[in-house]
């Protein structure tokens, strides 16, 4: 329980709670980014460089940016649009979250290796080792994931591409007038 851990934990929790409490979608995303960054620094303080930097690249650089981009494209800024912070189904949500927390806590507490690991020093994992594991032992899952992502990419392009038969409806002038 170092000071660094306390600061990061507070930042992460405050960021995550603020992400739920803010009415404005942009504020929520920015506070979520704060939570992501504090989690990344937490990973770094645990000597997990690869995970930490990947957390920033993927979650701040891609997920948060994608979300803000969606907001800029659609302009569905809810800053002036008042909605309830608590949704009507908050009880269901609470039960589900509690259930997930119970399962996770049960799994963590029931893990026997955890107590043993406290005494032995943590293994030093370099990026090279992660790369070797991905390229040798886990090469097949990696390929499958690459295939999946490529399929998703092609799917996105197909969705975004104006259909050939629908060409007249998709020209920019008509779109602009409709808006």
């Amino acid at each position: 329980m170092t000071i660094l851990f306390l600061i990061l934990a507070v930042l992460a929790i405050v960021g995550a709670s603020a992400a739920m409490a803010f009415r404005s979608a942009v504020h929520a995303i920015l506070s979520l980014a704060l939570a992501f960054v504090s989690l990344a620094i937490l990973y770094l303080s645990l000597d997990a460089q690869f995970v930490g930097f990947t957390q920033i690249i993927v979650y701040v650089g891609a997920v948060a940016i994608l979300a803000v981009f969606a907001i800029m494209m659609t302009r569905s800024d809810s800053a002036h649009h008042h909605s309830e912070v608590f949704s009507k189904s908050w009880l269901t949500g609470l039960v589900l979250a509690g259930g997930v927390f119970t399962v996770l806590a049960w799994a963590v507490l029931g893990d026997k290796t955890q107590h043993a690991a406290a005494d032995t020093p943590a293994p030093v994992t370099t990026v090279t080792q992660i790369g070797e594991a991905l390229m040798q032992r886990y090469a097949f899952p990696l390929e499958i994931m690459g295939l999946l992502l490529t399929a998703a990419l092609i799917g996105a392009v197909v969705l975004a591409m104006p259909l050939l038969s629908n060409k007249s409806a998709a020209n920019p002038a008509a779109k602009g007038d409709a808006r």
Partner: protein, 399 residues
């Protein structure tokens, strides 16, 4: 005599390291790591902020020369104190915040932008033994820090509640996302060949010599292509001409930081130049051998002089390009990123892998790999050119 001269060269090379060591060694042991880190950080921040000031005046004078005018020449000798005057001006200027603006986000945006721009410098080796931290995943760290800049840009554009700033932010974020892909893919070739993500290791691999010539990656076909692709993507990442649509003075005035004045405006300006300096420094680290000299008979020149000489050369190229090329249109910009840069960087990955396995001597390897790059390049550019159908432009809102 020879040993004396190398001894002197070594001293000149390590002068900053020795000076820091001398200062730190007088302190109690507990304080030493902290003070050492602070000295290095202050050094990096001061040197690169100073370089930013110098770059602005170089840029204005260089562009002036290219456009057949004088550029700033009133403040100090040859106008070299212009940045000081600009700094004082921006500090004393009124800080205006639009009434509709989101106050907190509007204030935080320049802070996030400049802080993220400075983060990348932590892993850049500016000389032998002169790096803030030698991270195991240094290049990854650099890109992670760079991805936070986009968030700062968005915050600025969105919080101003102005359509110009929002348009600028949208353009900037779209451009940065698109060009980050070729930027990273171009640097992966180096990571693959060096077998390390640590910037210090990558430079050390290049600071070896065959005969008199250094092992810089830019001297290989894939390294040369990678360097060019990297620099194109870096120009786009730092929103500089010909990729300066996010700022587009003639259409959206200044883009995402239009609603900022005084020192906050100066911070955006600084963030942009610091980003350019940082990506140039990464290009030097990855392709141009970092602090190493190109020829073995020049190794007596201190390493930090090599680094900053290369940096200033690259900055000159940036200014040159800005004075030469017109701005791209949005569709041309995206077309370049996805139709040209992406295929070429992916091809370059294969060439870098082939470079390792092609049998035969160096000339054979060179020829085979260069052919692997040049032929697809010619075919791709021909294909892209034939795709364009020139016709009369139609305008939606104008005659």
């Amino acid at each position: 005599m020879a040993s004396m001269s190398t001894g002197f060269a070594n001293q000149a090379d390590q002068i900053f390291v020795v000076l820091k060591g001398a200062v730190v060694s007088h302190l109690p042991v507990i304080l030493q790591p902290l003070v050492s880190a602070i000295i290095s950080m202050v050094g990096v921040v001061a040197v690169f902020a100073g370089l930013f000031a110098l770059t602005t005046v170089f840029e204005r004078k260089g562009l002036g020369r290219m456009q057949n005018r004088l550029g700033p020449n009133r403040v100090g000798p040859f106008g070299f104190f212009q940045p000081a005057a600009d700094g004082i001006k921006s500090l004393t200027k009124e800080d205006l915040v639009p009434r509709a603006a989101d106050k907190a986000v509007h204030f935080l945006a320049p802070v996030v932008l400049v802080a993220a721009s400075f983060l990348g410098y932590a892993v850049l080796p500016v000389g032998r033994n002169m790096v803030l931290t030698n991270l195991d995943a240094g290049v990854l760290y650099f890109f992670a820090a760079g991805s936070m800049v986009e968030l700062g840009v968005f915050m600025a554009g969105w919080s101003s509640h102005s359509k110009y700033s929002l348009l600028g932010a949208m353009r900037a974020v779209a451009q940065m996302i698109s060009y980050e892909v070729p930027l990273v893919l171009a640097s992966i070739t180096v990571i693959m060949t060096a077998g390390s993500l640590s910037t210090v290791d990558i430079v050390a691999k290049q600071a070896q010599y065959t005969g008199t010539i250094a092992h810089w990656y830019v001297f290989t076909p894939w390294g040369f292509a990678g360097f060019i692709l990297f620099m194109i993507a870096a120009t786009a990442e730092s929103n500089r001409c010909p990729f300066d649509l996010p700022e587009g003075e003639s259409e959206i005035i200044a883009g995402y930081f239009i609603e900022y004045s005084g020192f906050k405006f100066a911070l955006f300006f600084a963030g942009e130049y610091l980003g350019m300096l940082a990506t140039s420094a990464l290009a030097i680290t990855l392709f141009l051998g970092g602090w190493s000299s190109p020829f073995s008979f020049f190794t007596w020149v201190p390493s930090w002089i090599w680094f900053f000489a290369k940096l200033l050369t690259l900055i000159f190229c940036f200014i040159w390009v800005r004075g030469t090329l017109p701005r791209l249109r949005m569709d041309q910009l995206m077309g370049l990123a996805w139709k040209f840069m992406l295929p070429m960087t992916i091809l370059n990955l294969f060439v870098a892998a082939a470079w390792r396995f092609v049998p035969g001597g160096l000339p054979v390897r060179w020829f085979v790999c260069a052919a692997m790059l040049v032929i697809p390049f010619a075919l791709l550019s021909r294909g892209l050119r034939s795709e364009k159908k020139l016709q009369t432009r139609t305008y939606r809102f104008a005659e």
